[in-house]
Symmetry: C2
Subunit: 650 residues, 2 copies
């Protein structure tokens, strides 16, 4: 049994796959179909060019409501020399779009014709109704849409390979076609495997994996223009997987076999491919996503590609983007998708495995005149990092990392305008920041918060890397919050300090407080495991201050060196029995059904540089701090106090 993979470089993997596809005759458009020209053609890809079969207009059409005339009969008309034309033989009323009578070569718009009734009131009543008077000569073909003005029969209207937009459907109709030939949609089978899988919505036990990769993969391929079949989950049963894959191969153009693509004891995918055909690639040097399998299965004359998709969700998504999308595009006859790119500056140093193409997820925002890219979690299992990612940058093989301040090219996952509406908040985490984010989303602002603790937020402000920092740093000497730290860390940056909330800090303990932890003294007990916050977090500053006051050394506390970055993560550590207690806020305890031992009241402020205060970007946020609805929501959270919300401290 191989216990780990030999990854090959991405270009080499692509090459092998393409060669095999070519050999199997599966490299171009798979087939085409004739479909009626209606709204269902939207997004389909033309497999043959559209040449106009008729002209548009297909006749000389009046471009206005008015009178069709023969231009040379007007040549003597002038402001002081009006001429009159007899309706019927010299002028004919036409509506917009009406064909020009054959004896006409121009149209006079109705608003340019004089009210003849006034002018020739002395004339016979019948004659009066039959004449128009004009005071300007008319040039030939004026206000006429001549035949072929828009489209001349036989001209190229749209090339093959074009993805149809609404306007294209109109142009095709105008050029005389009622049906079109488009590329057949490739059909993709998605087979989730693994005995640990449980369907979405079912209660989960430890070890259960919620099966959602097939939903993500199916919606990816649908978005790329293919059809998806999601198969039922198959347990780790080699023969059953083989049978289902073989069945799927008979009715599909591509098999995506999810999970089991690595080399563990229950990873069957590579053997399934070997049993049913040829294993081309097992392991590609990309992070995340390296345990990819590429193969061809089925009979010699009808070989079907199969991709073993890794089980980690981020790996699965990237496998889709890297291998599936280009294949679908080829099969549809169109160019592969090209991301919109933006240059941005890395906010911190990153390292990268030298042997891999490293797909790094980034949050991107404009702060001042800089576009900043903040690296997100690198974990292949952290799907929220893909949700939050504004884009990715690829650190190619051979690059072992980049220093902070490097310029990177970001392949955007989001509309560039979103980047400009993004508020970058770096600092301490608080649940009210999540609520702000939700409410700001309704006001066209995107609040991205990086939780690096209060001190980290101030340092980010000093580097010009965020629009605001949340902070609750206690000054042990004065009992005041934030002021001293702002003066020390960012003395030269003019800022406003605005209170967000007052909140209760205390110990988060398991339901019923089984270890009877009631004060910080209990942290020194042998039977108590603590979960700490990281250095620079306001909660950590508070803990260290109180420990010093009580004369407790950190060495006495088991778990003091185990750190988490948010209140909720501390609560999760206690809920999962990784620790017995941790200092944090009551809302986090209640969120995860823990008990809470209240201890200290503290103030949580927003630190905002003067230059962003009352800016277009931040105004909606400042408005919310004055909003009674927001105050009511927050004061409904346990341990929160909104009395000082919106107060400007500095």
């Amino acid at each position: 049994m191989t216990i780990y993979l030999q990854d090959i470089p991405l270009p080499q993997a692509r090459e092998r796959f393409e060669a095999a596809l070519k050999e199997a005759g599966k490299i171009g458009v798979l087939g085409s179909e004739e479909i009626p020209l209606d709204e269902h053609a939207l997004g389909r890809v033309l497999s043959t060019p559209i040449w106009a079969s008729i002209s548009s207009p297909h006749y000389h059409a009046s471009a206005m409501d008015g009178y069709a005339i023969y231009s040379s009969t007007t040549s003597l008309a002038g402001p002081t020399h009006p001429i009159e034309l007899l309706i019927g033989t010299q002028a004919a009323y036409v509506d917009t779009g009406d064909p020009l009578p054959s004896w006409c070569d121009a149209v006079i718009p109705i608003e340019n014709i004089e009210h003849v009734s006034e002018a020739i009131a002395t004339h016979d009543q019948l004659q009066k109704m039959m004449r128009i008077r004009i005071r300007a000569a008319v040039t030939p073909w004026s206000h006429v849409r001549t035949m072929g003005e828009d489209i001349v029969a036989t001209q190229l209207v749209l090339p093959a390979g074009h993805s149809l937009r609404p306007v294209d459907l109109g142009a095709i109709a105008a050029s005389g076609h009622a049906s079109i030939r488009v590329a057949r949609k490739p059909s993709i089978a998605i087979l989730p495997t693994g005995s640990e899988l449980v369907p979405v919505g079912q209660p989960v036990q430890a070890g259960d994996i919620i099966e959602y990769n097939s939903i993500v993969l199916a919606s990816q391929v649908i978005g790329w223009g293919a059809e998806a079949t999601r198969y039922p989950m198959t347990g780790d049963d080699f023969d059953l997987i083989c049978q289902r894959v073989a069945d799927a191969a008979r009715e599909h153009d591509l098999i995506l076999l999810n999970a089991g693509s690595s080399a563990g004891s229950e990873d069957f995918s590579s053997r399934v491919v070997e049993r049913l055909g040829e294993l081309l690639v097992h392991g590609v040097a990309v992070r995340p996503g390296h345990p990819v399998i590429l193969g061809m299965i089925g009979k010699k004359l009808n070989r079907i590609p199969i991709i073993g998709v890794p089980g980690y969700p981020v790996s699965a998504i990237l496998t889709g983007e890297i291998f599936v999308e280009p294949l679908i595009s080829k099969w549809l006859g169109k160019s592969p998708q090209v991301p919109i790119t933006m240059k941005a500056t890395l906010t911190r140093k990153v390292t990268s495995p030298a042997g891999d193409d490293d797909y790094m997820r980034l949050a991107v925002g404009r702060v001042g005149d800089k576009v900043l890219a903040a690296p997100l979690s690198r974990g292949a299992g952290v799907i929220t990092s893909m949700v939050r990612a504004d884009g990715i940058t690829i650190l190619p093989r051979g690059v072992q990392g980049l220093p902070a301040g490097s310029e990177v090219e970001v392949n955007l996952y989001r509309h560039p305008s979103d980047i400009n509406n993004t508020i970058f908040a770096i600092g301490s985490h608080d649940i009210t920041i999540d609520i702000l984010a939700q409410l700001l989303a309704e006001k066209d602002r995107r609040l991205i918060s990086a939780n690096v603790g209060s001190m980290g937020g101030l340092i980010a402000l000093s580097r010009g890397e965020c629009h605001l920092a949340g902070s609750h740093l206690l000054d042990p000497e004065t009992g005041e919050y934030n002021l001293k730290y702002v003066q020390e860390i960012i003395p030269n940056l003019p800022v406003k300090i605005i209170t967000l909330v007052g909140r209760q800090q205390g110990l988060l303990v398991a339901k019923g407080n089984p270890k009877q932890i009631i004060s910080l003294q209990d942290l020194a007990r042998n039977d108590v495991a603590y979960i700490n916050r990281q250095n620079g977090a306001g909660t950590r500053v508070l803990l260290d201050y109180q420990l010093r006051r009580l004369g407790i050394s950190s060495d006495e506390i088991r778990g003091y060196s185990n750190e988490e970055y948010t209140h909720l993560s501390v609560a999760a550590a206690v809920a999962s029995e990784r620790a017995d207690c941790g200092l944090g806020i009551e809302a986090a305890a209640q969120a995860l059904g823990l008990d809470f031992v209240p201890m200290y009241q503290e103030r949580y402020d927003l630190i905002i540089p003067q230059s962003y205060y009352e800016s277009r970007l931040l105004n909606p946020l400042l408005d919310l701090l004055m909003d009674q609805g927001f105050k009511n929501t927050v004061s409904g959270l346990p341990g929160y106090n909104v009395d000082q919300m919106g107060q400007v401290i500095l």
Copy 2:
């Protein structure tokens, strides 16, 4: 009867419409529905935020295939001091994703474990299988995905108003939801009216309008996230239109009543709105698209908005973009679409009606280091101008025009990368240019050709406004083509001249040549109407040269001053009997079923600046000139000769 509209400014029109919508309670999300979380949720818009109901992982999970251990038992291990752990009580095999046994706090990847069998070969066989050996201490929680690493229960996963992408569906599933609440899709009724309408695909008579606006509007609203109902066509019957609109209003959120929105004798839309409700706006100061109607119909307690959409296709499309898209977005609870923008330089002067917001269509391409925007047709009926448009720029009310060289902000209709793959060809038109465009589309290049005649192309080259110019300018003194003109017009621009084709010029005449036109002398006949090409066209140069040679004055030729810009347009003029003959190429005659009187053989060259010759952009085009398939296609066209194709003249 009002005979023309009083347009009001766009912001005022929007304000009236929004006030009426607000009064009717139709300004926010129309309603929501619970749908299962699967691939069909793609693109739907969340109507409530997603807060995590479980953590992800919801247990401590092994991040690798390996052995779960308790970290402190490894603290003494080192490279020269291996320790051994008993499987079962000190180490437990785990696959990736398996839950950690409760007595473990770390995982050692399988590749970091020594092959114990060699090391302890002297031990008892049973014991040997039960031990692993390691040579490094393990830090707590290494290779473990701790509970909540990705998502902590209660945290905000996605805000309301978010349009769901594939990755979002995964994150929602991971956070414990099997169904989601999304905004109900607004339902839009589209009613085409007009007795002149004929369905797509039916043979057309003069005066018939092919009804395709409803297809375009339906696919627009579907693309924006709504549902569309296309009603059958209704003739110009006021009562019947009223009845159908009233019926549609009972089952839809918005009515789009197409055409009849102006003030002509058969324009019923405004009266329909007045009969069924309230006419808010009739005429908006936007070009194209000004005869827009905005109104509210139905009973006081259930008023439904109605938009009278102009009949010209470009006006209809822009009405969709300006009025319908923002409304649908509001009803879905998301932000209105924001275009991607790009700055570009206008290639020529434009004028604009001062009273209107003028939506100007542009072709956009990068030539050298400049992004150029070439204004396209302004006609509201020219749908191909929207197909060709890479974007629009809005010349606001009050602006009467812009000089050539002005910088404009373009709202792109295309992916910015398309702009970089665009070959700008300006000059003489030839059918082989259309064929090149089709073949280049398959090679990721977009060939945009502006047909301004040979001389215009050389002038565009001199201004750096295109990548190549097609030219067939005869030097009357030498009988040679293009060389002299290149030397005179662009003496300082190093260029290559490459022959595209040799082709036959002659007179295009009606089928059967009823007027027996056999030479240029016939153009001086009283009963012959000529259709000319514009000044600077190679065909015009040829005509003028031959007329001079024959001693015929242009005054003697009826229609000499009527100009068209392409061979096909000349053919269309003859086919529609606007003229009896015109000088042009045989392919154009054949395309429209005309007869052809052959006269002269000429050479058509491509003039390419040295700096673009053999560039990444143009290489696929140069390759095609050497391609036998392309040569065969072109030589199959009547009057074409490919003997010199690809030959470098200069």
